[in-house]
Symmetry: C2
Subunit: 543 residues, 2 copies
């Protein structure tokens, strides 16, 4: 049996007995075959001593049980690692950052407490998945959409706390941004409700987020300051229709005006969907089995334009989606076209118009259902199709830098990352596309392969670290990271001798003095492990 | 000379000398005629011993000076009270919550560091007012709007930190919600940048708000955990046009569907402006010189409908404003009409269409310029007009409860507050209108008079406390409060033995162990004053 670091066998046994008393013995897991399920399915340390493993898991079903578990963990100094449904594939899955932690598995807390159609919100527990919430709404016939990421099996709460993203209009596709009101079990076992939830009898817990006094909710995202047991989410009242449209522009340097218009129309709320900027021309000079991004360098703009014209391919393209009343979305798309018509040679093509609700047959014909808030697992087949040479068990870990939303920075990132990948001779899963999920920036996604091959994994771990450092040199930081890379990723946020991280540590010491919650998550280590973590991290390989 | 509580005269003198060294003697104020200017112009304790006064003021011009002042204040245990431009009329002005504090006046830090037109954001210091930012944008000819509250002389940062509100579309009119990235001098003098500001060289500080790891920004709103020295704000790219339209519905009980449609269309982003729900009929049975809300009770719905029909007046009305391309706003307004047409007897009238930018003459004809982002001070003349019987020096303090956005709760609030005002025989400045500033709730605003008359003020302080308690009984809490009422207002947020306030206190003790920053702000007292503050508060009158 694995024992949590710093916990004696006797204390650990006593803690496990206590957990069994709290949740009943069947919901405390200590057998290898059970706790192995909490390993990261895409672990970059697959089969190596550094692979993260839990010592046990405990699965409460009520808030009171969570409180009791947390109090007991304090008493015996047992490190806990709360998860919601434990997906988070590519970012560390359900495995604790600190090996030997006890996974606090909240999947049994899966109540949809309320879905309010008139005020369009939901209040849910951590075990509720996007599928659960979608199905609930469909079964009740409520005229509400959810916003779901790829894939739809994850936890609505877990994804929001990781600041995950979807596809429908803002604020909904910013899953943390669309939350309103939390319930949290603090590290000392105290139960807190934020926003209007702190006012007994308030009916605006899910509609007014700030309450009165400091707004603490942000502390509980990407952190380890508490165990979130309920969150309210705003939902989009079902739009009448969705209309797609595609814009292309011919020349390389059109990208500057192209992005500036996307930014402006986005800030005005006219364009309000997730999108990504393709380069139909540049796609043709990808080389290798993977058609990997960066396999050949981009030609200089003048040559680019000649070759693009030769091939009759546009330099840049974007597909947009408008949601709302049919007349409104048609007017929006027409206005967008009139704005982009200022770029000589711009082309416009109308995509399908969907009238909601779609019949089952019509829905089946929608190529990317997440764009209209329908959860699915199609992304996994997409991955399988494009990575034919890989083993079906091959996974990936994401490198996810935020890039400013202007053409110059986008081109710079394209070049810097493309050059590096070519130089290092590696080809992560990536389109090299600037993706517009967040409100005002681009995201680039690079999936570094995880194989059942230690040498491959070792090399990709090294590449991941190099990418983090390379991005930081250019002023680009990650919006989220795999749990194996939290120290270097957060370490890049180092302004003024990492004063922000020091503030996080001050908060950690105050809110969780025994350091029992999710040690190491987002670079925040409890005081008793801080020094050691820093030393391991300095050693070069991932801690 | 007033000495800060708990500071010896010798220490205070040494601190003042130190401040003079830091900012030069001319920017340290200790003369009565100077520090009197920091009194609350609308103090509910006017001329009474409890009136809040500063002991001194210090006005730095650089971040380094702020850091040095904060460090010195720690050394000598001098309580500081940071203000931006120090307006905040009706909520406490520039007066410290704790008498004897030294006002840390940031008005000299008034640089507009950047306004970026392509990515539509601004980065400003605390001394920048809405007028300053507007004028800067006009002078440079940038195609950007700001969002401004009534009135426009306040600090862009100060208002956002108080979670103030304006009139243009979301996210812009939620001034805290539209911020992106902060720079903060912590209570220990350390300088922190949040979000992407923590990543050296990042160009996305003003465009990606969360950064990586916990998002701490909310801690610095309505609180006393640090001194905010810079904030980025998202700006709305100037829309082509603004179109107004007014909707009325005939019957009392139409309010339910009326509000539900406003909520739905708001959540869909079709209606995206501040608005308030009028009752043209109910306005006719206001009595008294003030035409005070609640002066006569609302009749029962059946009688209401007969009388409203007799008078030919609608029961409810709302004026909306749409901003964007002309064809889009026309389509939006048409769609809104088609939705409200489901209420029998609904009427629609087109308001003016403005094409931006307006000429000076056209702008002068806009009745409420804040609705198109133009700061002004017109609200003061509005107050003067409707309060003719009051002294020109009479002020007010705001009671600002958040009400759920549904017809039943709105009617309930109307009745509860109306009945109470009538029973108590007081008539605050109020329309009794549910105002829609925040994203998903209504706000009701009641301005209790501040006079140069101790008896009037005493009665109104008592009424204010009663209103806070009455609201809390019904599940309504304030979104913001006058500094004299922070303890009772925050005290109503008492879920689970005030566990949220206890968390705030834990954070305060960790981040500001000497308790030097804004003691008592939003009910957060430093440890050494906490017990005393609670006792005073329990005594009954305002602490």
């Amino acid at each position: 049996m694995i024992t949590p670091p710093g916990t004696s066998s006797a204390d650990f046994a006593a803690a496990l007995d206590g957990f069994r008393e709290i949740v009943s013995p069947e919901w405390v897991f200590t057998e290898k075959e059970d706790i192995d399920l909490y390993k990261d399915a895409y672990s970059p340390f697959w089969g190596e001593p550094d692979e993260r493993v839990a010592s046990a898991a405990v699965a409460p079903v009520t808030v009171e049980q969570v409180q009791a578990i947390v109090r007991l963990a304090n008493r015996y100094r047992v490190p806990l690692y709360p998860i919601s449904t434990g997906k988070n594939l590519g970012y560390g899955g359900s495995a604790p950052v600190l090996s030997g932690s006890v996974v606090l598995d909240l999947k049994r807390m899966n109540r949809i407490i309320e879905v309010n159609e008139d005020e369009s919100f939901a209040l849910v527990e951590p075990g509720v998945s996007y599928f659960d919430l979608y199905n609930y709404i469909q079964e009740k016939g409520l005229k509400l959409w959810i916003d779901t990421p790829d894939p739809g099996w994850g936890s609505v709460i877990g994804n929001a706390l990781e600041r995950g993203l979807g596809y429908t209009p803002l604020p909904y596709r910013d899953h943390f941004g669309a939350h309103c009101g939390m319930e949290i079990v603090l590290a000392n076992g105290e139960l807190v409700r934020t926003g209007m939830g702190a006012l007994p009898g308030a009916k605006s817990w899910q509609t007014y987020r700030y309450g009165c006094g400091p707004w603490v909710d942000g502390l509980f995202s990407q952190s380890n300051f508490g165990v979130v047991t309920k969150i309210g989410f705003w939902l989009l009242p079902r739009p009448d229709a969705s209309l797609e449209g595609t814009i292309t522009v011919p020349r390389h340097n059109d990208i500057h005006r192209f992005v500036a218009l996307l930014a402006k129309l986005g800030a005005q709320g006219v364009i309000n969907c997730a999108y990504w900027i393709e380069s139909p021309f540049a796609n043709t000079f990808r080389a290798g089995a993977d058609h990997a991004f960066g396999a050949t360098p981009d030609p200089e703009p003048a040559e680019w334009d000649v070759r693009a014209a030769d091939k009759g391919l546009p330099s840049w393209a974007v597909r947009l989606c408008f949601h709302g009343a049919e007349a409104v979305v048609r007017a929006q798309w027409a206005h967008v076209q009139s704005e982009f018509a200022s770029i000589a040679g711009a082309t416009f093509s109308d995509g399908p118009l969907y009238r909601h609700p779609l019949s089952a047959q019509d829905l089946a014909r929608v190529p990317k259902q997440v764009e209209i808030g329908v959860p699915n697992l199609a992304i996994f087949t997409a991955g399988a199709r494009t990575r034919e040479k890989k083993s079906p068990s091959a996974g990936h870990m994401w490198f996810s830098p935020v890039i400013p939303m202007n053409g110059a920075e986008m081109l710079r990132a394209r070049k810097v990352f493309g050059d590096a990948l070519r130089e290092w001779g590696i080809s992560p899963i990536t389109s090299g596309l600037p993706m517009h999920y967040q409100e005002r920036t681009f995201l680039m996604l690079f999936g570094f392969e995880i194989a059942h091959d230690r040498e491959v994994n070792k090399k990709n771990r090294q590449s991941m670290r190099q990418m983090v450092a390379l991005a930081a040199q250019h002023g680009w930081g990650e919006y989220r990271t795999h749990s194996a890379f939290m120290d270097p990723v957060v370490g890049a946020y180092s302004y003024n001798n990492s004063s922000l991280l020091k503030l996080h540590e001050t908060l950690k010491d105050a809110m969780d003095p025994n350091g029992i919650l999710s040690a190491g998550r987002y670079g925040i280590w409890p005081a008793h492990l801080r020094q050691a973590a820093r030393q391991v991290n300095r050693r070069g390989d991932i801690q």
